[in-house]
């Protein structure tokens, strides 16, 4: 803007708001580390925003807005501590430490000095905040809410809508999480070495949980929900940008990123015009986002360059490799099912789960024939987790149908239809049961 020209106020406030959104997470991360308290960090960041809203329309947005906001928030912190009657020695120590910070009116030179003093810690502080919000002492849903709040900048109301919950419940969950963090005396530091490797899975788990909340949402739902997939993708990209690339556990960060990029590439193809879910083999692959597929395959290749083939990787690398098999197939018929079957053989060893075993049976049936699928499904048919699980009889029905055992297949489809609560799925399964009645309709 040129001197003497006053921009429309609406424009400057929008610019300030956008700048604050960009700086917010790093600001809270830096303040949380000083104050050792997320609530105080959020309040101070908010105070800094209020001051910026009154100052910036007059002085313009500073060249280093992050350093300006940080210095302003620190000054507020010092003032607050001075006014605090309950001074402890620790507080005085902090006040002394902060007193070196220049007053609110400073030039770019001083701002640069502050930024230099904060130095490389900017990224590290944010990483520390992510690791703290995702600390394993918190239950996964609390980690997700706290991460979306302090790192993602979502409001409590947005988080509640995204998780199909109400605002009071989510607010309560966040308050409790903050209390737990405070009680445990967590220092907001980024863990290093073995501790970082040990705590990383709880970070990855939360990001993927957030992603799946959004990914599972269909059109017609509140738009905030699909937005969650986008938010998780952003968190995954941030984590990949912030984590040291030479850490041995980095390949799983890239694995998760690859998995989310590839799955997100299918978002435009997953719902039909009527809002119904479209299964993978029926999706219009022209609608897959090739830019995201490219990014996903690239992240997977980087993970493999670090830690060897995905076959020997962790659960996220393996799932990314599975997703990549579909992404590489131009047509559903081109899918490399024997590779998928081999990957499921590995995945069930690193992440044992009856659902993965069921998917493995399906992959084997497509790659090697229905008898292979039937053999594998018998091994898991008694698993508790699969009792009353409609996909189990549905898969067995499909294998039997393809093996020509129509009467048995029919019974399985009927059983599956009775178990599902989804009306569309029920209709689909009953239709398949019907086709078992006419012998001429085999395939």
């Amino acid at each position: 803007m040129t001197a003497g020209e006053t921009p429309p106020t609406d424009e400057i406030y929008r610019a300030i708001e956008a700048t604050f959104r960009i700086e917010r997470a790093r600001l809270i991360a830096g303040l949380a580390r000083i104050m050792r308290n997320i609530d105080r960090a959020e309040e101070l960041a908010q105070d800094a925003l209020v001051i910026a809203l009154s100052e910036w329309p007059r002085i313009g947005i500073p060249a280093r807005p992050g350093a300006w906001l940080m210095a302003t928030a620190k000054r507020r912190a010092i003032d607050a501590i001075r006014h605090d009657k309950m001074r402890t020695r620790k507080h005085e120590e902090i006040a002394r430490e902060l007193d070196g910070a220049p007053s609110q009116s400073f030039g770019d030179g001083e701002a640069a000095a502050i930024e230099a003093a904060m130095g490389d810690d900017l990224g590290d502080e944010l990483l520390g905040l992510i690791f703290t919000a995702c600390h394993p002492i918190l239950p996964p849903d609390a980690r997700a809410a706290l991460t979306l709040r302090v790192v993602g900048g979502l409001t409590t109301d947005e988080i509640a809508r995204a998780f199909l919950s109400n605002e009071a419940t989510i607010a309560q969950r966040i308050v409790r999480a903050k209390k737990t963090v405070a009680k445990a005396g967590l220092g907001f530091e980024t863990p290093r070495g073995a501790e970082r490797a040990a705590r990383l899975p709880s970070v990855l788990e939360v990001i993927y949980l957030i992603f799946n909340e959004g990914y599972a949402a269909t059109a017609g739902d509140d738009l905030v929900r699909p937005g969650l997939a986008q938010e998780a993708l952003r968190l995954g990209r941030m984590l990949a940008g912030l984590m040291p690339g030479d850490a041995p556990e980095y390949k799983e960060v890239l694995g998760l990123l690859a998995l989310m990029e590839i799955q997100a590439s299918r978002l435009p193809a997953r719902t039909g015009p009527d809002g119904a879910f479209v299964p993978l083999d029926q999706q219009d692959r022209a609608c897959w986002d090739q830019l995201l597929i490219h990014r996903g395959l690239d992240a997977l290749a980087r993970a493999e360059a670090l830690g060897g083939a995905a076959d020997n990787g962790g659960p996220y690398m393996l799932q990314a490799a599975l997703a990549a098999c579909h992404a590489r197939a131009r047509r559903a018929a081109d899918t490399d099912w024997s590779r998928i079957a081999a990957l499921y053989d590995r995945l069930r060893l690193v992440a044992p789960s009856p659902v993965i075993d069921l998917n493995r049976a399906i992959a084997h049936s497509i790659a090697f024939g229905p008898e292979a699928g039937l053999r594998l499904i018998e091994e898991i048919a008694d698993a508790d987790a699969l009792r009353n699980y409609a996909p189990l009889p549905a898969a067995r029905g499909d294998f039997l149908f393809r093996a020509g055992k129509l009467a048995e297949a029919r019974a399985e489809f009927v059983a599956a239809a009775a178990l599902t609560r989804n009306e569309r799925e029920k209709a689909f399964l009953l239709a398949r049961a019907d086709t078992c009645g006419s012998k001429s309709f085999g395939r």
Partner: protein, 144 residues
């Protein structure tokens, strides 16, 4: 939303690059800005383009196709580099773009253009077209 951020060419950029101290310094500044974009989860893709001397234009008129070799005049109307960002809205894209170090030695221009998204094309694609399954990699009007 996804945006393309284009840096317009200048007479200097049309001359190509040489590893002068100034150029190396500018590269370092741009690298640290890019790093910031990566750490914020904003950067999706980026590339720099060679001067128009190495480019070609294809003039299309009816059935005629005429190929013209570069260089082309009017540097300011050409793109010297671009990146693709994922941002919440245009305000955020503008806030980020304002932080970019000077991409060129002299005055230059950065242009931000949002991608079309599926919702923008609701009037162009019938529900039947959307429902019809098509295999292959044919992009639908380049929609993000």
């Amino acid at each position: 939303m996804r945006v393309m951020v284009m840096v317009k060419a200048t007479e200097d950029s049309e001359k190509g690059m040489a590893p002068t101290p100034e150029m190396l310094e500018a590269f370092a500044a741009m690298d640290s800005f890019t790093e910031e974009l990566v750490q914020a989860g904003v950067l999706v893709a980026a590339a720099g383009l060679k001067p128009s001397a190495e480019g070609k234009r294809i003039l299309v008129d009816g059935r005629n196709r005429t190929v013209i070799d570069g260089p082309f005049a009017e540097a300011r109307e050409m793109v010297a580099g671009f990146s693709i960002w994922e941002v919440k809205d245009m305000d955020e894209a503008v806030a980020w773009a304002k932080r970019s170090p000077n991409p060129m030695a002299g005055p230059s221009e950065i242009e931000i253009r949002p991608f079309y998204e599926a919702a923008d094309l609701a009037d162009f694609v019938t529900p039947e077209e959307l429902a019809a399954s098509r295999d292959g990699d044919r992009g639908k009007l380049g929609v993000a």
